[in-house]
């Protein structure tokens, strides 16, 4: 039985996702003791420290997606199932900071597939759920952390993910969400629902919250701990506040902040 981490990283003009993947790989090797495979494209692999990764797989990236007016190369995540060289795979977004050994528990508790549903933001509010759209909609599943085994059901989830990606406008129409940017989270939510017969499978959900660092919150590295700094606006004045965190994983939404963090 083989276990490992799979990371997708395609560089854009703004961000070096391969450098982010290298940071995540160092953390995964140190804290989870797992091999790591990078999935990237021809132009991005030039930047990769090849000795760091156990395997590098080169595929064609799909540049047909935008966010805030810039290219966002996040499509093709459905290929994780066919590309993963492992029996049990931890599929991570490269901007997810592994800062504990907690993720190893997922291999022991999953049936064959798990991802996050509930979330919270450090220091910046406290939010349990995001929905595909505002009214009468499904709670969003998060593609940031996915753990899976190679079973027929999981194969169907990833095939369905492909189908949703290829028919994104249709599903956006049904579920009333924006098509401005393709989001893996939304596609995963729909794919899981379809494959599970439109039922809610509790054992597909990671039993703790995905912790986000909000784009309006800054995170800094300080020796063994991280410091999260927030501007709390009160009556037109900024009140700066912070917390220190350690031994906990988190997802940095602001890529610029993430790049500063890994310098």
């Amino acid at each position: 039985m083989t276990r490992g981490v799979l990371l997708f990283a395609f560089n854009s003009t703004e961000y070096n996702y391969v450098k982010m993947a290298e940071f995540t790989t160092r953390k995964a090797k140190h804290l989870l003791n797992l091999p790591c495979t990078l999935v990237t494209d021809k132009s991005s692999v030039i930047d990769a420290s090849t000795e760091l990764f156990d395997q590098i797989l080169i595929i064609d990236s799909d540049s047909d997606n935008q966010i805030d007016g810039r290219t966002w190369l996040n499509k093709g995540r459905y290929r994780a199932y066919e590309l993963s060289p492992y029996d049990e795979t931890l599929l991570l977004d490269v901007d997810y900071v592994i800062n504990s050994d907690k993720l190893n528990l997922l291999f022991d508790i999953m049936d064959d597939f798990m991802c996050h549903e509930t979330i919270s933001y450090l220091i910046h509010g406290h939010n349990r759920h995001e929905y595909l759209s505002e009214k009468l909609s499904l709670p969003t599943l998060w593609a940031t952390v996915i753990v899976f085994k190679k079973t027929n059901r999981v194969k169907q989830i990833f095939e369905c993910l492909k189908m949703v990606q290829e028919n994104y406008e249709h599903y956006a129409n049904i579920h009333k969400f924006s098509t401005d940017s393709y989001r893996n989270d939304y596609a995963l939510t729909i794919a899981c629902r379809i494959v599970n017969g439109h039922t809610y499978i509790k054992s597909d959900i990671i039993p703790w919250n995905l912790l986000h660092i909000h784009p309006k919150t800054k995170i800094y590295n300080s020796n063994t701990e991280y410091i999260v700094l927030n501007d709390n606006w009160q009556r037109g004045k900024i009140k700066k506040e912070y917390v220190t965190i350690k031994d906990i994983d988190f997802h940095v939404i602001d890529k610029t902040n993430f790049m500063e963090l890994i310098k």
């Binding site: 508790i109 039993p207 700066k240 506040e241 912070y242 220190t244």
Partner: protein
């Protein structure tokens, strides 16, 4: 500029309420235990519930956190969950004491 200087110059204050929430996130996750083929939360409710079922003997069926009925050895599960609970609470308390002194 290092982070400590940044905090000092910006006159940032440590947010104790946010620290409490962060600790709750972190240590609640550590209370999750896989044992005897089920997934459990080593919390006060589960341990108390198990302790209250003495008349049922050692072996019993229990719903785990995924709502799966699992046959368990109640005594062994109490021991496992109590050990995890005690250890996690100790760590939680230590880190809270450390953070409580920050300003």
């Amino acid at each position: 500029m290092d982070v400590q200087t940044l905090l000092a110059e910006s006159k940032a204050r440590f947010n104790h309420n946010s620290a409490k929430l962060y600790l709750t996130e972190k240590y609640n996750a550590k209370l999750i235990v896989a044992d005897q083929g089920g997934l459990w939360r080593a919390d006060a409710q589960t341990i108390s519930f198990l302790l209250s079922l003495q008349t049922l003997g050692a072996e019993m069926i229990l719903l785990d956190t995924f709502n799966t009925p699992v046959k368990v050895d109640r005594i062994e599960l109490i021991k496992k969950l109590s050990d995890v609970y005690a250890q996690v609470m100790q760590e939680w308390h230590s880190e809270w004491q450390e953070l409580e002194t920050k300003r």
